[in-house]
């Protein structure tokens, strides 16, 4: 099963995402922002980082890259996409996901081992988790505060589209403690925490993140 990881200029967690896919048993395929060829991958991960330095708004410039044109088109037809951190921001800027990620309430970059609960296991990326399962994966971002209109918030909650929710103290001012959401169809998921940095106990706070990658692989095998 081939899963792509896009490298934008300024992507940082691309190599970790490739490694996570391999550890989960998949074939990891590097994709480059400047090409629109998806190289026959069956799902794609938009990794964390500071694409284009995050200078204008996080994800604002990457959204217009050639590869995103292909991904947006495919995603609208059900192609599985996971956006992690900066990838989540790109998905919001692309309007594949609603809302926006804004400056953390305390204005600082925050790197922490974060407890989150998996609230929606009905996506190809989270099916392997138990509903309500609490996991610990790192957050590391300066603009992770999820904001949206009241209507959008209601829609997300009513339709069960909140995928991850922070447990305990709100780390960044996100509405309803939202740490990750999906689109209506469920194929597009964006999360602020980094599952790809929680795939080995040696280098992460847990191995809880690996299931994102195992889930999609299982889904693709059918």
């Amino acid at each position: 099963m081939r899963i792509g990881v896009v490298t934008f200029p300024g992507s940082l967690d691309d190599r970790s995402a490739l490694r996570a896919i391999e550890l989960a048993g998949g074939v990891a395929v590097p994709l480059f922002h400047g090409e629109n060829d998806l190289k026959e991958v069956q799902a794609v991960v938009l990794p964390g980082g500071f694409s284009y330095g995050d200078y204008l708004r996080c994800g604002a410039i990457s959204r217009f890259s050639p590869i995103m044109e292909s991904i947006i088109l495919a995603a609208e037809h059900g192609f599985p996409v996971l956006g992690i951190c900066n990838g989540f921001q790109i998905l919001c800027e692309s309007h594949l996901l609603p809302g926006a990620l804004t400056r953390n309430a305390d204005l600082h970059f925050i790197c922490a081992d974060q407890k989150v609960s998996v609230e929606n296991t009905n996506t190809p990326w989270t099916r392997g988790y138990a509903q309500g399962q609490e996991i610990v994966i790192p957050i590391k971002n300066g603009e992770g505060s999820f904001q949206c209109s009241d209507e959008t918030l209601k829609e997300l909650e009513d339709e069960g589209r909140v995928v991850l929710r922070y447990v305990g103290k709100n780390p960044n001012g996100s509405r309803n403690l939202i740490a990750g959401i999906s689109n209506k169809r469920g194929n597009v998921v964006g999360v602020m925490p980094h599952p790809e940095q929680a795939i080995e106990n040696l280098t992460g706070p847990s191995e809880d993140g690996l299931m994102f990658f195992s889930s999609i692989l299982k889904e693709l095998v059918g």
Partner: protein
């Protein structure tokens, strides 16, 4: 050369932690004038010659698609000399 300015501010209903941080720092430094503070962005765009109506329309479009995120922000386009 003329200058077109695009001002982008967070919508009033969106949390503005940067503005809030300024608002609470001011009284600590003895400044008491502010009722509230919002912080936004200002883009100064240099264009050749007098800005035309088409050019301004283009800037509006760029402000809408790239310079601001309509989900959370409002913008204003102005011409300055």
């Amino acid at each position: 050369m003329a200058m077109i300015v695009v001002e982008v501010m967070l919508k009033p209903e969106i949390l503005d932690p940067q503005g809030q941080a300024v608002a609470s720092a001011l009284p600590r430094l003895g400044f008491t004038f502010a009722q509230s503070v919002r912080q936004g962005k200002r883009f100064e765009i240099e264009v050749v010659g007098e800005p035309t109506a088409e050019q301004l329309a283009e800037v509006e479009k760029a402000a809408h698609t790239l310079l601001s995120n309509p989900v959370i922000e409002n913008f204003v386009v102005k011409v300055e000399k």
